[in-house]
Symmetry: C2
Subunit: 363 residues, 2 copies
């Protein structure tokens, strides 16, 4: 093949100017006389010239690439998050290097290495393990911007953008109370995990504030279908008057499992049991009954994360419109590092069909 690369020299020759003039036109970093400018633009178009990001990155010490380190892209929640992040980044002229850790700490670390050799300008980390130390080291080594997304990372010195489960939990409890529920159970994640504990504590607090007991019906396990099924089966075994009439889960899949497990034993949702899930992926409204959920503001979280990391990278200077039609935006030199504060976005309740009036309600 070969496919010889058109370089800035070819453009210069064609436009009969020097390469610096070409470069100046392309980057827009210095004034060029209109005539020369025009000649350069024409030459660029005729030759179909595109700058070489490698050379540019080597020279500028910036690549306009950010890494997205994520546990599992096939999980719809992360898929949605990735879509938002990709969109926001792309709009700002940044490319995304996809790093799917598959929930493996080893792969996370391996990917940090790759990200380092690739000279990315920043990394958005949705971690599955505890890599706080490695992240700090990565930052120290590369100077790249590092931002923890969604899940807070223990021992990590950088900023975090995530979600507060409390507002949604509060709404969920109020919603269930209004429907006449007084016995509310919880299917939570494994104890000890930061995210899992946070979610559970939010629900426990909301229940507490409502004067409801929150210690009686608690099941825990991984954020999986099976965990939900087991809880549903266990719940169905309870005598009628000791069984919760509503359950809040901290994972969407567990909610589906719960509904399945309960209905296997003749408990129907929402008639005999109301279920509130978590997350709010596209499936929540496809499922039957459509799932009421404590929703995460995926959209806001993703765009805010990109905004913040770009601020960290200090690329926020200008909208970065390409100065010359077909050529990608020029990179600005990086100046002093800014700091970005942690941000916590509220969850909120999305009411659908999996919650209904309590069977014991007098409403």
């Amino acid at each position: 093949m070969a496919a010889v690369q058109v370089t800035v020299r070819d453009v210069a020759k064609k436009a009969e100017v020097s390469i610096s003039t070409v470069s100046r036109v392309l980057t827009g970093n210095a004034r060029v006389s209109p005539e020369l400018r025009q000649r350069v633009i024409e030459a660029v178009e005729e030759l179909g010239y595109r700058p070489n990001a490698l050379a540019r990155g080597l020279r500028m010490r910036r690549t306009a690439v950010i890494g997205l380190l994520i546990p599992d892209i096939s999980n719809p929640f992360f898929g949605q998050l990735a879509r938002v992040v990709e969109d926001a980044a792309n709009n700002r002229g940044y490319a995304i290097l996809l790093c799917n850790s598959q929930n493996s700490r080893r792969r996370e670390i391996q990917y940090l290495d790759l990200l380092r050799t690739q000279q990315v300008d920043g990394v958005l980390v949705v971690t599955s393990g505890a890599v706080g130390d490695q992240l700090d080291e990565f930052f120290k080594l590369t100077g790249a911007a590092v931002l923890a997304l969604d899940r807070r990372i223990p021992q990590f010195g950088g900023p975090w953008i995530g979600v507060d489960p409390y507002p949604g939990a509060k709404e969920a409890v109020r919603h269930l109370l209004e429907l006449g529920h007084r016995r509310i159970g919880v299917v939570r994640g494994v104890e000890g995990s930061v995210s899992s504990d946070e979610r559970y504590n939010a629900i426990a607090r909301a229940l507490d504030e409502s004067g409801l007991p929150q210690e009686r019906w608690i099941w825990s396990g991984e954020y999986t279908l099976e965990t939900g099924v087991e809880a549903g089966v266990a719940l169905a075994q309870l005598p009628d008057e000791e069984r919760p009439t509503a359950v809040i889960t901290t994972s969407e899949f567990s909610a589906y499992g719960l509904i399945e497990g309960a209905s296997r034993h003749g408990i129907s949702v929402p008639e005999q049991l109301s279920v509130v899930g978590y997350d709010n992926t596209a499936f929540a409204e496809v499922f039957r009954p459509a799932l009421t959920v404590i929703a995460q503001p995926i959209e806001e979280m993703g765009t805010l994360a990109v905004d913040s990391i770009l601020r960290l990278i200090n690329a926020e200077q200008e909208p970065q419109l390409p100065p010359v039609a077909p050529v990608a935006g020029a990179l600005q030199p990086r100046d002093e590092v800014e700091t970005v504060e942690d941000a916590v976005l509220p969850t909120f309740l999305v009411k659908r069909s999996s919650t209904a009036v309590s069977p014991h309600s007098e409403l």
Copy 2:
């Protein structure tokens, strides 16, 4: 800040050798005496040296990066495909640049531009529009490997790796026949789209070969929930004896919609209506009733695609184990371009609970 980069010169100085020796040790492309080799390795470790992919890529004209151009990463099917592709690529030492076109032709073209400036070694294209010409041009311009994945691309000269809907369709029809169904409908995608026509034709052929009429109950529309709902509602309006007892859809979401629409009018699945979906995302077994589907071999398709594109790139030479512990594998010079043939993988049926004995069956 700054975070000065450790270069091959620093390693050379520390090991008291020349930079060429360092390079030789790192790439493994030439013989180095054991003593010097050892000194280099130690220096690399002590300094935490990592090669600069930009410089290496500039020099080698290879980046070990491939682009994944995909319609919508938040769609679970593509999410699963991306996961497989990412995994396979990563195992072979390649990084993935995520290009989510959001089903926009404009963004696809824009991304091809980015991919070109980024000097990627190859592109895996799951297209949403018709960009055959642009792909050929991209190839001509860059010499990068280009491979169409999943969806065949009109007017594209390069190889394609996709799926044959027929085997799964054949199995589905046989399955339904065995369950006593004789009136089988189809919810298909929009007419004229390549993928949609292929899927429909496969089903029509399978029906035809079974001697069943295949022209009576056909609904078409986008691969969405709504299309399914409309079909379900329309189907429910038909008098009992004119209504199909089973329906095959060419999209998973349409199947869910169909079940919803039909049940709104009192038609229950699978008792009164059997439904066969398409795709087989993780949600198919979570849904109730768990969805019988014509499944695509996502795993095989993704890994084969990566294998093939790497063959095209000619990186298949060696497993590429890093010659020096902490340093990423060295790149081999690219030699003559190989050709890769189209590959068509078979679909297959996954039986679940949405299909059952026909209400009119005498079984």
